[in-house]
């Protein structure tokens, strides 16, 4: 971030609603602030979408629409899809807190908004970003690999539910690594094992959705994971973000 942008960013933190406003309004204000900052710079969001496009293109070049035997198709495509979504998330979602440290607005944000509401607002922004990435990546993946999902409604529900868990965990871990050295590598190292139960369940559910059945068992695991991660994130927010 160059120095020219830091003044408007600091002022955007000072414009956040203070303790008189409702918790929801304050969390939403953090989300709106992040969205405004990212849309103002554009390059960060554009690079995430470019990363997704590159990954999908690379996979389609490598495998192509007819490079997989029919019986392995659903399993391999499901795994590849979630690997691409995970790395897109790992590229973009940690920025939520890292940017605050880089631009020097973290201190002001800590003073103005409680940690749990900061985490909630940034999780919301990351969740919306993930859904936008998925909305572009999944159809592109399906078209380029000629991969037909028999139950698109189940897949959409899965993306909404698993995307939420991914956003909660990624945002919490982003708060942890924001002031560590080697942030980007560290984020992947610590997020991969924590997200793997979610990703494994999501892959199993995607295979079932692609085959046309309702993935009820893995979806229940995803919902339980979402609940556990939300509670843990809320309770530990101040420990992760306070100074």
């Amino acid at each position: 971030m160059d120095g020219n942008n830091s003044a408007p960013l600091s002022s955007s933190v000072s414009r956040l609603p203070t303790s008189g406003s409702s918790a929801l309004a304050r969390a939403w204000a953090v989300c709106a602030k992040d969205a405004a900052q990212e849309l103002r710079r554009r390059i960060a969001i554009a690079s995430i979408f470019f990363f997704a496009a590159t990954a999908v293109t690379l996979v389609s070049f490598g495998i192509g629409p007819f490079g997989l035997p029919a019986e392995a198709r659903d399993r391999v495509c499901s795994a590849l899809l979630w690997i691409i979504l995970f790395f897109c998330a790992a590229t973009g979602l940690p920025r939520a807190f890292v940017r605050e440290e880089e631009t020097g607005t973290a201190y002001a944000l800590r003073k103005v908004v409680p940690a749990s509401l900061t985490l909630a607002g940034k999780t919301l922004f990351n969740y919306l970003l993930f859904l936008a990435i998925a909305a572009v990546t999944v159809p592109a993946f399906s078209i380029l690999l000629e991969w037909r999902v028999e139950s698109p409604g189940s897949l959409a529900a899965l993306l909404v539910l698993a995307g939420y868990g991914l956003s909660v965990v990624s945002t919490f871990l982003a708060a942890l690594v924001a002031r560590a050295s080697q942030k980007n590598v560290l984020f992947v190292v610590i997020s991969f094992p924590l997200l793997l139960p979610l990703l494994l369940s999501a892959i199993v559910a995607t295979v079932e959705a692609a085959g046309g059945s309702m993935p009820s068992t893995p979806l229940r695991v995803v919902v339980a994971y979402d609940g556990a991660a939300t509670c843990a994130g809320y309770l530990l927010a101040s420990a992760a973000w306070e100074d």
């Binding site: 690594v177 560290l186 893995p218 991660a229 843990a232 420990a239």
Partner: protein, 218 residues
């Protein structure tokens, strides 16, 4: 500490002798391979115990901010990783005998490997933060977050897909399917490994205390 060590030695020796000589090998397993249960399960149990102890000390650290609690949490994670690696190695030996390959991507094998990654990441996080107070707070937050999500690795992920793993001690019938001598040695081994962990954690705490004293003296 010294008494703990002196009593642990003959007790552990008795358990090892008992494991090889007392109960008959279990039916349905090749040769004597079932005897690995006296070492593999206690290692897995002790690693889970160590990670729970780490979570408890992390709660204590966040509540009181005593550096000694952070030292204990970090020591418990290091020991938990040691026992988890031992459980993974003994499991791989059993897999080679029973299923013909050391690694079969069985959900239980994979989830245990991921558990190792999960807590190895804790040590990476510690190494990446310079400031001791910040390191302790972030490590405690991560350890607790990991403890909340750990059951998904231990209990949920292995049940989403089919497993080759023999019935676990905590099974769906809620019964321990062992004869009396096997049960005696098995539970004796659980106590022995837990005891070993307590003794080793005591050593970790002493080493951390001395290191902190050294740093304070400059």
């Amino acid at each position: 500490m010294k008494t703990l060590k002196i009593l642990l030695l003959p007790y552990m020796a008795a358990i090892i002798v008992g494991a090889f000589l007392w109960p008959a090998p279990a039916q349905g397993f090749i040769g004597e391979s079932s005897r690995i249960v006296f070492f593999h399960v206690p290692c897995a149990w002790t690693s889970a115990l160590a990670f729970l102890v780490a979570a408890a000390y992390s709660v204590a650290y966040l509540a009181r901010r005593y550096p000694a609690h952070d030292d204990m949490a970090a020591g418990a994670v290091r020991l938990g990783l040691l026992f988890a690696v031992l459980a993974l190695v003994t499991g791989a030996l059993f897999a080679k005998i029973m299923w013909g390959a050391y690694w079969n991507w069985d959900p239980r094998e994979s989830s245990f490997l991921l558990l190792i990654f999960l807590y190895a990441a804790y040590l990476f996080l510690r190494a990446a933060v310079e400031d001791p107070e910040r390191r302790a707070r972030m490590s405690a937050a991560y350890a607790l977050f990991a403890a909340v999500l750990m059951p998904f690795l231990f209990f949920v992920a292995p049940r989403v897909t089919a497993s080759l793993h023999p019935q676990t001690v905590i099974n769906r019938q809620g019964k321990i399917l062992m004869d009396a001598p096997t049960k005696a040695v098995f539970f004796g081994a659980l106590i022995a490994f837990s005891w070993l962990f307590v003794w080793m954690l005591g050593l970790e705490a002493r080493a951390a205390r001395l290191a902190r004293r050294d740093r304070a003296r400059g």
